[in-house]
């Protein structure tokens, strides 16, 4: 008998194929799940982590801005204006060279010292002073206020450089003749200026042929600081005045403080530009 064998194998293959086909759904669902994890869930987790970081920064930003707003709200504008006037007396926004010279001349006449020579390193007089622009509304990168480059003080005084770095000065060099007591009085008067000044490089020697008279030479550094060009970032924290700084400002506004004198006006107009006065 000749039995047909091929159809039996075909039936067997079909049965195995149908059995394998039953695995397509579960295996396919596992693959799809993995694809969802890989292409949807994992990127979203990364986005969530980035958002969390952003939110932390935003929370800090909001917190600092709210604190700043509450500090600013608590400030008394009138008091601040008074303090600014005092601060301008301490550290004017321009050089005020002639005010310093006038103050030196007045102090010298009051102390009874003879000014042999007054030498001022004035530099540019009509330098432009910028005013404060509007505060940026959007948070921005903090900007460093421009430091005036004219006659910078940094390094001028070796062991006190850090205190003098952020500002500029007008230097007045003096040569004087006086007795010792008058010189001390003059130096005390200089220190009593409302403007911040420093006396350096004092050299004293007896005046030849003049008993009890001393020849001295020294320099007076009068400091100034231009107004900042920008306020910086809106997020930059507000530093309030310390007690010492407030006391300093109060001291400047007291009547006994020696205020910067106004330079007197002089008559103008000449017929001949070269005739000596």
């Amino acid at each position: 008998m000749n039995l047909p064998t091929i159809p039996v194998f075909k039936i067997k293959e079909i049965s195995e194929a149908s059995r394998a086909f039953t695995l397509v759904v579960p295996v396919g669902s596992i693959i799809i799940s993995l694809l969802i994890v890989g292409f949807v869930i994992w990127p979203k987790i990364n986005e969530i982590l980035a958002l969390q970081k952003d939110n932390e920064q935003l929370a800090m930003q909001a917190d600092s801005l709210e604190k700043k707003a509450s500090i600013l709200a608590g400030l008394d504008k009138n008091k601040l204006e008074e303090q600014l006037i005092a601060a301008e007396q301490l550290l004017p926004s321009d050089k005020n060279v002639f005010s310093v010279l006038r103050q030196v001349e007045v102090s010298a006449s009051q102390s009874g010292i003879l000014l042999n020579k007054v030498e001022a390193v004035a530099g540019t007089i009509n330098e432009e002073v910028s005013t404060l622009p509007a505060v940026p509304i959007a948070p921005s990168v903090p900007t460093t206020p421009t430091t005036p480059t004219d006659n910078p003080v940094a390094g001028a005084i070796p062991n006190q450089g850090a205190a003098f770095e952020a500002t500029s000065k007008v230097q007045v060099r003096l040569s004087t003749t006086s007795d010792y007591t008058s010189l001390l009085k003059f130096l005390s008067n200089i220190y009593a200026f409302s403007r911040v000044v420093n006396i350096d490089g004092i050299s004293l020697s007896p005046a030849i042929g003049e008993s009890l008279q001393i020849r001295s030479s020294f320099s007076i550094d009068a400091y100034w600081k231009s107004l900042p060009l920008e306020l910086g970032s809106i997020e930059s924290p507000i530093s309030l005045l310390t007690d010492d700084e407030e006391q300093l400002l109060v001291k400047v506004l007291k009547p006994e403080a020696v205020q910067a004198p106004t330079v007197p006006t002089v008559p103008v107009g000449r017929n001949d530009l070269f005739t000596p006065f």
């Binding site: 949807v40 869930i41 952003d54 909001a62 550290l91 050299s203 004293l204 507000i238 310390t242 400002l249």
Partner: protein
């Protein structure tokens, strides 16, 4: 006695396959459920973070607007603080020359006087005359005393010469405190 496998080979294969299929189905269901849960939780958390961000952004904008409304106060305090802190630092660091002279006048011996005096913020150079060596010793101990140490340190005598009267001419340098 050896066991006799009475189950046909094909039937056994079929049973094994069914068992494997069952396991795969269970695993796939678990994976699907976990994936669905993870997706829901992730999306919910993402939505929460997004809404939190929006809240924070509006909070920042509100606070910025408030800060901007106090712009004048900010300008005043920034400039005043800048100037007063610099002034305070300069005044704190500056050397009070009057104090140096006053202290020296109080502590030096009576028979000592200066012929040349130079002082900078870094050092003091003094030349002078003293009545005797004892006066020089008195000057040195005065400069090394508590009062003297407040104005000078590292005192060094550069020259010390006497004449026929017994008076000494001296030159000294010291660092300013």
């Amino acid at each position: 006695m050896a066991e006799i496998n009475l189950i046909p080979q094909e039937s056994k294969k079929s049973d094994d396959f069914e068992k494997l299929r069952g396991k795969i189905v269970i695993v796939s269901i678990i994976v699907l459920v976990l994936t669905a849960l993870a997706a829901i939780v992730t999306l919910a958390f993402f939505a929460y973070r997004v809404s939190q961000r929006e809240d924070l952004l509006s909070k920042v904008q509100e606070a910025s607007a408030t800060v901007n409304s106090y712009k004048e106060n900010e300008e005043l305090i920034v400039v005043t603080k800048d100037k007063s802190s610099i002034s305070s630092r300069i005044l704190g660091a500056r050397l009070d020359m009057v104090n140096v002279f006053t202290t020296l006048a109080q502590i030096i011996p009576k028979n000592v006087y200066f012929t040349d005096f130079k002082i900078t913020s870094a050092d003091i150079q003094i030349s002078g005359r003293a009545g005797s060596s004892a006066e020089i010793a008195g000057l040195m101990s005065a400069l090394l005393s508590t009062e003297g140490a407040r104005i000078a340190s590292n005192v060094s005598i550069n020259s010390l010469v006497s004449d026929e009267t017994g008076a000494y001419t001296f030159g000294l340098v010291a660092k300013v405190k």
